[in-house]
Amino acid sequence: MGKRYVSVWFCHLLADWQAIRHPELQDIPFVLVMADHGRIIVTAVSQQAQKQGVEAGMRAADAKAICPGLQVINEKPGRALKLLQALGEWFIRYTPTVAVDEFSSEGLIMEVSGCPHLWGGEREYLQDIKTHLKAKGYTVRLAIADTIGAAWAVSRFGKVTPLISPGTHTEALLSLPPEALRIEKSTVAKLQKLGFYQIKSFIGMPRSVLRRRFGESFLTRLAQALGTQNEAMCPITVPLDFQERLPCLEPIKTRKGIEMGINKLLECLCLSLEKDGKGLRTGVLTCYRVDGKIIKVDIGTNAPTHSVSHLFKLFELKIDQIRPALGIELFILAATKVEDLVAPQEVLWDGNPGLNDRSVIRLLDKVAGKVGAHVIHRYLPDTRYWPERSVKDAGSISEKASTPWRTDKPRPTELLRHPEPIEVMALIPDHPPKFFVYKAVRHQVVKADGPERIEREWWLDVGEHRDYYQVEDQYGQRYWLFRSGHYFNEQPQWYIHGFFA
């Protein structure tokens, strides 16, 4: 599948932002200005001001003359980039790869391959972005295409449709002006001087001719827009609050070295966690190797913690997975999931053993780290009669039972995972069997209790109900048997389902 890119152009990025911050500016024309070589130059224009003919690049005095009542606000340099960075982080909800458009600093580039179908299609995807941003107060133009260059061009200069379907970006570019190729102003002027007002008028020319007249960078931009040359993106990453880096002067190759590295990182990380009253739930250690490979190991805990020794023990179990090869030059330890940590009252805790004890949590972490979290189970009663479903897995170590455990009906100490068929001899209908044969051993039934009918949960599965009997054989061994279905079926099948103590 080919890649798809969306270009987002904030037409009045800074002006919109000012209007959001100062609602009183909403209906007044205003401009943002900055001093440049001793002159005051307009850098951003609000929608109202633009309607009256004010443009970016004008002198502030001229703008005031054209548009009476114009508000002039001083702009801080670098604000646009900061704003785009923040908006880019917000955009991560739409796609994991978002980058600031470095050419114009007025928009964002997103790689959306495989994302739009989650919103119901590309049209809905763009519509969703547009409405969300409109609600925030930003006016945007969007375009989706196969290359960054084409998406950029269509978002700014396109007049037909923002949806450039796969493979048709070249045609879409043909009628656009040369500025759409993200080239320098001087080159644009040169092209216009030569009468090239549309891309189609020079796209067919030999490359050597174009290179001689407009330079290599022009060709690169053209190739990027057409998709014949790759364009790299520098995606925005959401910074983690708790992350530590450890660059190594010499590549680390030994186990001892890795251990020391982890310890050092943990000390810093735990200190910052402790300051914020947080505890780690999941952590990732990323090792950057000299040969360019990246190794990741992760740990998880059952309860938030910021204890260096405990976390180190969890990482210690994973050190074997780290293969240093030629050496590791950078360690990054990040707490990907943190939770508020309630400071325990040490004295009270020590006297009361129980599942809340820290030693228990540590054991569970260790087991989850070494064997896997799937082996740990804790059961709570479920309000269901079907024996296999009468207990449910507890979600956490502190989850309480919502209903009490039932003791009114006999339940076997050992329950077979799957009932096993047995041969029986039952004389009277709806009575326990006289004897039964299980694993080639014949058991004479001496005493019995029952039946207890348990209806199948018909809304979940289909089948017969079960009539359970508690029986004791001649040696005093106690079993839980059941007959599947009614007796008047010709051959009701009997099963053994458990052993009583």
């Binding site: 076997p412 050992e414 040696y475």
Partner: protein, 250 residues
């Protein structure tokens, strides 16, 4: 006068016996803090008459019926051990214990953490780690065999923290050479109903204490009477076997 010297001698002998236990490496539990486990007359079999909580108790379970009986007996012991709010770990490779049944033995099933692993080594590793936890009062492990080294490691962990270890050992054929504090075999016995009532009575077991360090092995018949253990008198036992023959179903 004569009487007094007799008393003095008895005390002296008791003290000497305790000293011998100490020299043999057995650490006595202070009888004032050690709680009775509720086994009644059976407790005389243990050293100093106190159930050794700082020890590994091994249960031999060859057939599922025996393991169910052992599960029941252990659960009943757990109920007493867990009275102070402590938790318990149950480690197994093929667990059949049904948590919903534990309430019959007064155990809160939600205070037991089950670990269902696939390898025997993991069972032993988890058991050793769990024995070091203060939050637990007991650790139960189902394994097929336990050798000398493994049992010694477990015993060391038990002595350090005082968490009781229970082992359900399935394998009978392997040579038994481990240093478990006590070795038990629990087999079910026919239950007994008063007044010839139909149905099945309280669970009843034949408890064989095959080995106990510094104690006296023996065999008892025990009933779990809903909330406590009852050691069965031989007289009643005769009656019960009589009734068992007489009773018909229906």
């Amino acid at each position: 006068m004569q009487y007094k010297t007799m008393e003095g001698k008895k005390e002296l002998i008791e003290k000497l016996q305790k000293d011998i236990l100490l020299w043999q490496g057995y650490k006595p539990q202070e009888s004032c803090t050690a709680e009775r486990i509720g086994l009644g007359i059976m407790e005389t079999a243990f050293p100093n008459g106190v159930f050794p909580t700082r020890g590994i108790h091994e249960f031999i379970t060859a057939i599922p019926e025996h393991s169910a009986a052992s599960d029941g007996f252990i659960s009943a012991l757990l109920a007493i051990l867990m009275k102070n709010g402590a938790g318990c770990v149950w480690i197994s490779t093929s667990r059949k214990l049904f948590p919903a049944s534990l309430r019959t033995f007064n155990v809160d099933p939600e205070r037991i953490i089950f670990m269902d692993v696939s390898k025997e080594q993991d069972v032993l590793w988890i058991m050793e780690e769990a024995l070091k936890c203060d939050g637990f009062c007991a650790v139960v492990a189902e394994i097929t065999s336990l050798n000398l080294t493994e049992s010694r490691r477990l015993q060391l962990a038990v002595e350090k923290n005082g968490v009781t270890g229970f082992i359900l050992r399935k394998d009978l054929r392997k040579a038994v050479s481990n240093i478990a504090t006590a070795r038990w075999r629990i087999s079910p016995l026919p239950s007994y109903n008063e007044d010839e009532m139909p149905g099945i009575g309280f669970p009843r077991w034949n408890i064989e204490l095959l080995k106990v360090r510094n104690g006296n092995p023996g065999s008892w018949e025990l009933e779990w009477a809903g909330d406590r253990f009852v050691v069965i008198d031989q007289e009643i036992k005769k009656d019960s076997s009589y009734y068992a023959e007489q009773r018909q179903i229906g």
